[in-house]
């Protein structure tokens, strides 16, 4: 394969790793930090993507918005809307047992998907939203992809640093205590709700950011793109494989699993012609089996969580 083609592919690959990295970091803020089991990642992913699309595309009859605003505003709006959605859901579910939250989050994802498909004046339904602009395309002609990769990587770095900061700060310690249900945390009562809500909303807005990054990269979005497999399950596999409870694990998991996911595509293409139409199903099967293997054999992941050494004396 030609070098230019290889580099181009690598850029494409790494950009997706970056986007999924954002999603995984967001999920870690929810599951890793507070043990909230969010199976509706797709909802926040989609809301972020559609928000930025509506905000940044040119005026059109196909869908709502078309405000033609610049890229950073689209990103910010994406974070705000997904954060608000999370706030709404969180207020209802934050103190529920984790499996109820899981069910409720699946419900949200389904509702969001239904709305995206059916509120056609706003979203153009199943036909999707085209022509989402790529930022800074004039800045470096011919190298637009590489530039966009840099933007995504920058976002990942910023989010990673912010998340790590929060994790090591007292805020993070409180969250870990709440997650482990330590008596000291329980004594805080109401405040525990606030902390978990914060982590949940924070994580969701990062997922929204990931959605926005996706929208601007691919240029076209439709409800199909936010299928539970790609948008939710894959992110979970990434977090579990990488090591839940820690941000580095989230990023490593994103890279490793996206690599495996890409390899399944190659593997499936080796099959005889008549089976290739089932490619998607075969890849789903493989990644599903892969997750089970990880859960059974190495549930702590590649990088198990190592909380920073506690300075305070252990709670009595």
């Amino acid at each position: 394969m030609e070098l230019a083609g290889l580099i181009s592919y690598l850029i494409f690959f790494l950009t997706f790793v970056g986007i999924y990295g954002l999603l995984a970091l967001g999920l870690n803020s929810q599951w890793g930090y507070t043990g909230m089991l969010n199976l509706g990642i797709a909802a926040f992913f989609a809301v972020g993507a559609y928000t930025t699309a509506i905000v940044t595309t040119a005026p059109t009859d196909l869908h709502a918005g078309g405000l033609d605003l610049p890229f950073p505003i689209g990103m910010a709006a994406a974070m705000v809307t997904s954060g608000l959605l999370a706030l709404g859901i969180g207020l209802i579910t934050v103190n529920l047992r984790a499996d109820y939250l899981a069910i409720a989050s699946i419900g949200i994802a389904e509702i969001v998907r239904l709305v995206l498909k059916n509120a056609t004046e706003v979203t153009n339904g199943v036909r999707g939203l085209p022509s989402i602009p790529r930022p800074l395309t004039d800045l470096w002609p011919g190298y637009g992809e590489a530039l966009y990769l840099l933007i995504v990587l920058l976002l990942v770095v910023v989010v990673y640093l912010a998340s790590e900061r929060a994790y090591r700060a007292p805020w993070g310690r409180v969250l870990r205590a709440i997650r482990e249900r330590e008596p000291a945390a329980r004594a805080m009562g109401k405040n525990a709700t606030l902390f978990r809500l914060q982590a949940f909303v924070f994580g969701a807005s990062i997922m929204g950011l990931g959605g926005a990054a996706y929208a601007h990269f691919v240029g076209f979005i439709s409800p199909e793109a936010f299928d539970p497999l790609f948008a939710t399950f894959l992110v979970w596999v990434m977090l579990i494989v990488g090591g839940s409870g820690n941000n580095r694990g989230a990023l490593i998991g994103a890279a490793v699993v996206w690599l495996i996911w890409t390899l399944t595509e190659t593997a499936v293409q080796q099959l005889p012609e008549n089976m290739v139409t089932q490619a998607a199903a075969l890849r789903t099967l493989l990644i599903g089996l892969f997750l089970q293997a990880v859960l059974i054999l190495r549930p702590r992941g590649i990088l198990p969580e190592r909380p920073p050494t506690e300075v305070a004396p252990p709670a009595k």
Binding site: D99, A102, I103, G107, Q278, L285, L295
Partner: protein
């Protein structure tokens, strides 16, 4: 308009029966095995498709294909439990939940690989509905399809059988005991491994039946079970976890609510809820329950 309400209620009871069959299984696995089984919908799908193969390819009559579907779903559930859940028994319920999410995708992709992604039906063509009750409710009376009658009868028979099993057999009582208090069950000497096997047999058997019914009432599609999973969970929560009887009531409530939500008042206007959003009705009811009474209408276990 009374006729419309009654008609929609009738449809709701049919749909609710299907949901109830699924919810009983989810309630039992939730209560006894300790996790929300996200692959339950796909157990329904596998039952529907296995029955489909027996019916169309082997050309056996429906009354044989139906139990084949149930047995098939049981086999799938036991295989999944052996392959995955049994190795995760010591893990927290949330790990099992994630595993069941993976199992759901595995089953669904296998169904798609074997049977293809397109819609299938047991019988081609549209079945004619039968009119009845014109004298009681006035013209034009109520409509029901023969398949729907079969579904209602089948569901009633299955639910009665489960009731007898849970109430009067030793294993049934052991299952109820384990759903009530799994730790005490172990301390008492109840054979928890056998109870787990029976839980899958009953839960998956009912799921398989529900899948066939769903396929009869609508059509077969690899996603069919997944789409009905949310109403099933809503029904389970409504009835209370570990409360199979509550699940029946929950299923009927959800089914009727979903159908009634499309009522048009008055007849020319838009339906109350756009039919495309019917699952949202189930979800709204569930959220209401979670806020007001998370233990369910019949006080199942909560935290």
């Amino acid at each position: 308009m009374l006729v419309d309400i009654l008609q929609l209620t009738l449809y709701g009871i049919v749909l609710g029966s299907i949901i109830a069959l699924g919810a009983i299984g989810v309630s039992l696995t939730f209560g006894i095995l300790g996790f929300a089984n996200f692959s339950h919908g796909d157990l329904m799908t596998s039952g529907a498709y296995i029955a489909f193969t027996v019916y169309t390819l082997l050309a056996l009559p429906l009354w044989l294909a139906f139990p084949a579907g149930m047995l098939g779903a049981m086999a799938v559930a036991l295989a999944i439990d052996w392959a995955f859940y049994s190795r995760l028994r010591r893990s927290k319920g949330l790990i099992l939940l994630i595993s069941s999410f993976g199992a759901a995708l595995i089953i669904r992709s296998l169904v798609q690989i074997v049977w293809g992604p397109d819609n299938q039906v047991y019988e081609p063509g549209i079945q004619m509905a039968v009119r009845f009750g014109e004298d009681i409710v006035g013209s034009p009376g109520l409509r029901i399809k023969p398949d729907q009658v079969r579904i209602l009868i089948g569901a009633a028979v299955l639910v009665s059988a489960v009731h007898v099993f849970l109430r009067y057999t030793r294993m049934g009582k052991a299952m109820r005991a384990m759903a009530d208090n799994p730790d005490l069950a172990r301390l008492t000497g109840i054979d928890t491994k056998r109870v787990i096997v029976w839980t899958w047999v009953i839960g998956a058997g009912l799921a398989g039946a529900a899948g066939v019914f769903l396929g009869l009432d609508t059509r077969l599609h690899p996603d069919m079970g997944w789409f009905i999973l949310l109403p099933i969970f809503a029904a389970t929560i409504l009835g209370g976890i570990g409360r199979p009887y509550g699940a029946i009531a929950g299923g009927l409530v959800i089914g009727i609510a979903q159908e009634l939500s499309t009522l048009q008042i008055p007849p020319d206007y838009e339906p109350l809820v756009n039919p495309a959003y019917k699952p949202a009705v189930a979800f709204a009811i569930m959220v209401l329950m979670l806020i007001l009474r998370p233990t369910g209408l019949f006080s199942g276990r909560s935290t």
